[in-house]
């Protein structure tokens, strides 16, 4: 089964160290650049000649944008407008990274825990900083839920604290696990198809097609869930406890 994991291997093409920073150019970095270029070019081409009555490309781009706007305003109560650029950038970036991996032979940047972890920790630190900025020391009230008897506090505070600390881990794990599992399933089905006798090959190979279609849907859903949860965390930081 080592073959199934082969296409998740990070390959460094050019070693680059700046002080303590490792800025080596690996396949992850190259495919992230590819995903960014794909998103920027596609959106630019879609909106190259905007019209009052939009064509199919412009309509699709506007639908994507208004979808993110709606979700952001729905989940960040009152101040959602400020976060639309961040959420749209994050949504299209994750979507681009997920989709670029579906090209045969390509590498999926979001199948690396380092990539999803960086995104998740970034959002978590921002939301925590925002909560501290807004509520000061009242930040810690969130760990002692109202109405809990004082005798229960030594038990509830660590549980609430752990539940809070688990946020970036769940955020990173979900995206990483979905992308990795999907690609492994495609590989295993493909390998089964190639190994099967000729009169049975249609079965696993047919499932590969279905799995790729599912992967397309999952690429959208995962980008959506990541953005929604980021909105929920930011909203949680802004809300009073």
């Amino acid at each position: 089964m080592s073959g199934a994991l082969e296409h998740f291997r990070v390959v460094v093409y050019h070693e680059l160290h700046v002080g303590p920073l490792d800025l080596s150019i690996s396949n992850t970095a190259i495919y992230i650049w590819g995903a960014v270029a794909l998103v920027v070019l596609t959106l630019h081409l879609m909106m190259i000649k905007p019209k009052l009555v939009p064509g199919p490309g412009q309509l699709l781009a506007e639908m994507l944008y208004s979808f993110v706007v709606r979700q952001t305003e729905l989940n960040i109560h009152g101040e959602g407008e400020k976060y639309i650029p961040l959420m749209f950038t994050m949504f299209t970036f994750i979507l681009g990274c997920n989709l670029i991996g579906l090209i045969p032979g390509a590498f999926t940047p979001t199948s690396q825990l380092a990539v999803t972890g960086t995104l998740a920790v970034g959002i978590f630190l921002y939301a925590t900083g925002l909560r501290f900025y807004r509520h000061g020391w009242g930040f810690f009230h969130a760990f002692a839920p109202r109405g809990v008897p004082k005798i229960m506090l030594p038990l509830m505070v660590p549980i609430e604290l752990l539940s809070f600390l688990a946020r970036p881990v769940t955020l990173a794990l979900r995206l990483f696990a979905n992308m990795t599992a999907g690609h492994m399933a495609i590989f295993v089905l493909g390998a089964l198809g190639m190994a099967a006798p000729w009169f049975l090959q249609w079965l696993p190979l047919g499932f590969t097609v279905i799995q790729i279609a599912m992967e397309l849907v999952i690429a959208f859903i995962q980008a959506y869930i990541f953005v929604i949860l980021s909105c929920v965390y930011i909203d949680d930081a802004l809300a009073d406890h």
Partner: protein, 80 residues
Amino acid sequence: MPKLKHEEHHHGHQWGLRVGTEIVASTMIGLAIGFFLDRWLDTRPIFLVMFAIFGLAAGFLNLYQLMVVDLQKKSGVDEP
């Protein structure tokens, strides 16, 4: 507490994975904190066991809150 949004319920496997990651991540964090506290204070395995239980409890707490939100959505009651 991260709330599960309505659209997420349309996909059963997503819901299952969400529940799974919630428990696994909380337990992992608990274990990690317990492990490092034990190493620091040289008290192995007191904090490891304690925080593993806390982590599991935090996972179930998250799960319970998800279920409450889910039930409220289904019965049409607004979230608290």
